[in-house]
Structures are given as C-alpha cells and as structure tokens.
Amino acid sequence: MSTATLERNGVADQSAAEPLLSVNNIEVVYDHVILVLKGVSLQVPKGGIVALLGANGAGKSTTLKAISTLLGSERGEVTKGSITLAGETVHHLTPTQLVRRGVVQVMEGRHCFEHLTVEENLLTGAYTRRDGSAAIRRDLEMVYHYFPRLRERRKALAGYTSGGEQQMCAIGRALMARPRVVLLDEPSMGLAPQLVEEIFEIVAKLNSEEHVTFLLAEQNTNMALRYARFGYVLENGRVVLDGDAESLRNNEDVKEFYLGLGSSGRRSFREIKSYKRRKRWL
C-alpha cells in the first residue's frame, strides 16, 4: 500500500469518526404545514468542500438555512432529526450563536447591504467578534488579498457594484466572521461563466490556504463537481444520491439530469427503475 492511499484512508477514517458538520435525517416544515425536507442527512468533513446539488425547489437552500438556523425568520422549523457541529447539537441555537461557533451562511442572491459601502459590508461581518480591531483589520486585508476587486471598490456603496462584486462582497463578509464552515448558496447565480470560474477558484484557494470548510449549494452541477470533493444530490426534499465528486461526475444519471449530457427524456431519479434508493436511518 502506498503512502498516498494510507494518508487518504487516514483522512477518511478521521472524517468518518467525527465530521465537522453532520445533518442527521432532518425534516423541515414551513408555516407549520408545508413539509419541505423529508429526512435529509449529510456530512461535511473538516477542511472539505461538499456540494449540495439539485434542481429548483429541491430543498438546497432550506437545508443550508436549517443548518444556519436562519429558517426561524422564515417561519420554518426543524421538526425531526438533528444537526451537530463538531459533536455539539446546534439546531436549537440562534443564528448569532452559530456565527460565534463558526458557521456562516452566504445567502442565495447575495444580500449585500446596499446602502453601506463595500468595506462597511465587510466590517459588519465581524460584528460578533471580540478579538479586537487589529485582528479584524488583518482579516480585512486577507479578504482584500483574495478579492482584489473589493479593495478597488471598497468605498463604493455595495448597491452600486456589479453582481460579481456583490457575490465577492457577500463571501468576504462571511469570511470576516472567521468561520470554520461557510454555507455558500448558489454563488454562480446570474453570473457570467468566467466570473463563476473566478469565484470558484477563490473558494478553492480559501479552502486550501485558509482551511475554510465549504458546504456549497449549486445548480451549476458541472462547476460544483469540479471543485467539490464530495456531493449530495437532493430531489424533492430527499437525498437521492451521494458520492465523491469523481463518481458523481461519471454517474450516468447525474450526467443525464444535471450535466445535460444525457439523451432520453427522463425527469427524475424516481422514475428510473434500476436506481435503488439508499435507505437511511432505518
């Protein structure tokens, strides 16, 4: 056995022992009646990039909001299952408490503070920190280092910056909280392919250099599977497939439904007879 495989196995064992983030068979209900997630489980290892794939309305954003507990402000609720961060149960905490523990969500559609400058946006990301302004300034420099465009635009009102700059601003703002794991919701939304690539490159760099873990919800399956190491496919509020990025990329069904490489007109995994749904938590 080569050292490479040994090391691999070592890492795999460790992450199997205790993932940084673990979602265990959760159900989410909006408005007390609308059941949206019907038992979703996933694991995010420390230092990983995990992709959460699926079509519109599959429940990707809902899953991320369940983790960050931002669901509460949308009348959503985790009614079953649990979510743990490094072993601690966290789904009953407030968003503030989660940010303090290092879980920050970058919401779909960017959500910059339009009437604040780019730099004020970034600084707001450091709201929960108590480690002093010197440390915060250092991280501001770090963000500008990864997103040089933000430095150029730092005095501009965020509302007047381009879509790509706003996405960078939103990611940078999350980084200012010194997160352990960033829940990144559709960073590619509405951006030109080149810009999407630029942003994913930066995400990969942040992952390898700053050791930020990412859980990435994406419809852009192709792009997500190029950068993620592991992926889950959600459909209708359930995980229907998971695997490392390599195997997902080569999976015929993923090719067909999500990479646009297929030929026949099938719509969903459920309609594929040969596909065996994995039973979880039985």
Binding site: P95, T96, V99, V104, M107, E114, H115, Y127, L157, A174
Partner: protein, 311 residues
C-alpha cells in the same frame, strides 16, 4: 375677488412691507420645527430598523417627560432626574423588546402596529397613574426671554432647544456612521436577513433603537414640556410628527429633520400672515393639509429612501 386678493396678494404685501417681522416669524417657526423633527426622528429610527410603525412614539414623549418632571418635583437635581429617566427609557425599551416585539417576530406589520397602539395605551395610562394627570410646570433653567440677534427678536428658549436638538442629531449621526453598533443598525435597516446571517442579533438591535427612540423622545418631551408644561397634550403634539413623516419620507433621517423644519416654519408663517383671512387656528390643520398635498403628488416624501437600481 376681494377674498382672492386677501388670500393671494395682501399677505405677501404684508411680508414685503415688514421683512424683519417675517424673518422673526420664520425663525420662530423653524425653531419649533426642530422639535417636530425630533419626534419624527424617533419614528424613523424604529421604522428603519424594524419596519414597525411605532404609534407609541408620542406616548413615549409624554411618558419620558412625566418621569423627568416627576423626579424634579421630588426635589432631585436636574442631572440626576435626567440620568434616572434615561435609565427608565432603557428599561422600557428592554421590556418592549422582550414582551412585545420578540413574541410577535415574523408577524405582519399591521399586527406590530396594533401592538404599538397597545403600548400607547399602557404608557399613557401607566405614566399618568403614577404621576397624576395635572399639568406640571417644568423649569429646567433655560430663560424664556426674547433675544435680539442681528436686529431680530428671537426667543432665547427656542435657540437653546434648537442647539440641544442639533447636538443630539449630530451625536446620533456620528453614532450611526462610525461605531460598529451604528453600522450594524444601518445593516439591519438595509437587509435584516443578511444581518442575521452574519450574526447580528436582531433583538439586541431592536432594544437599542427603541432605547435611542426613547431618549430622543425624552429630549423632545423636556423641550416641549418646558415650553407648554408637561401634560397629556404632549402626546397629541407628537402626532404632528405624522405629517412630518409624510413630508420627509418614513425612512429618511434627513427627511425627518427637513420635514420638521418645513412644517414648523410653514404653520407659523401661515398662522401669522394668513390667519386672519382664513379664520385663524391654521396651526392646527396646516401640517395635515400640507401632508395631504404631498400624498397626492409625492407619496414617497421628499427624501423617501433612495432605491438603488442598477441597469
């Protein structure tokens, strides 16, 4: 014909003939407008930070003034009364956040609005039960004599009031612009979900804006109270802030200030120069009339939030 000339010509002739007097009236109006602005500012702060239209702002003015004058009547020094009243307003903000806002979070704005009507009744009732409903004279040692500035008679008290209000507004502006908490308040006003996503705790922010609105109300209450006596009427005068808001826009701090000044000056000038022809008491309805005109032609107000649209 005659009435037309009386409305459209003669007042302007009067103004042209006695410009000094006109300026005195104008300045007097502007100075009292500062106080409308202050009450309106309390509304704007809460509305921006939480989307709640706080009907109780006027009641908070009365409530604060009642406590302040009550403490003074107990023989406490002014500074101590001030500090303790500020404490009362902080406590009030905390209680409102805890008992009213937090349980109603995510409810429709109309429900929160109704809740603030409830708060109004509570404040009016509780304040007057505690301190009585008699008119109380409030003397904070600012002289109320006319002063001659550049050949104009100006009321000294109004000048003090304007300076104090100006300082308060300046202080608030600096607080919002340059402190992390102020920045977080602006962030919440812009996008409360995004603010939550980076860990800004909305309930803390709400408690802070209600506190600030309470303190702004206290200053307004002290100024009005010193001028007119502390009495139930204060809560009603504060309703004049409504037309100020329509003029200035519900989400604009500069709008609240400019709107207050326009209404203050407008109603005084109208009263003095048009009062006779239009049968007097213009001051009572002028603000509402102006607001109505604005609603017809510029419903977002003078400074309604600039909506950023990129093309």
């Amino acid at each position: 014909m005659e009435t037309l000339s009386a409305v459209l010509v003669e007042p302007f002739v009067a103004i042209a003939e006695a410009p000094m007097f006109f300026f005195e009236v104008l300045i007097g109006g502007l100075l009292s407008g500062v106080m409308y602005a202050l009450v309106a500012l309390g509304f704007v702060l809460i509305f921006k930070a939480s989307g709640v239209f706080n009907f109780a702002q006027g009641a908070m003015v009365l409530f604060a003034a009642l406590f302040f004058v009550g403490f003074i009547d107990l023989g406490w020094p002014i500074w101590l009364s001030l500090v303790v009243t500020v404490g009362v307003m902080v406590l009030l903000a905390l209680v409102i956040e805890r008992a009213v806002l937090r349980p109603l979070v995510n409810q429709d704005p109309i429900i929160l609005f109704m809740a603030t009507i409830g708060i109004t009744f509570f404040l009016d009732g509780f304040g007057q039960t505690l301190w009585g409903s008699d008119v109380r004279r409030l003397d904070i040692g600012i002289p109320d004599d006319p002063l001659i500035v550049a050949g104009l008679y100006v009321n000294q008290f109004d000048i003090y009031a304007a300076v104090i209000c100006g300082l308060l507004v300046l202080g608030l502006a600096l607080f919002f612009q340059f402190t992390p908490t102020g920045r977080a308040l602006r962030a919440v006003a812009d996008d409360h979900q995004a603010a939550m996503s980076v860990g800004v705790p909305l309930n803390v922010i709400w408690a802070i804006v209600w506190t600030v609105a309470g303190i702004v109300g206290l200053v307004a209450g002290i100024m009005w109270g010193a001028k007119l006596g502390v009495q139930f009427n204060l809560a009603l005068i504060a309703l004049k802030a409504l037309p100020v808001l329509i003029l200035g826009g519900f989400t604009s701090v500069p709008g609240a200030i400019v709107g207050g000044l326009i209404i203050g000056a407008g109603e005084k000038v109208a009263e003095v120069f048009w009062g006779e022809v239009l049968g007097g008491a213009i001051e009572d309805w002028f603000a509402y009339m102006l607001a109505m005109v604005f609603l017809l032609f510029r419903p977002q107000g003078l400074f309604g939030e600039k909506i950023i649209e990129r093309v």
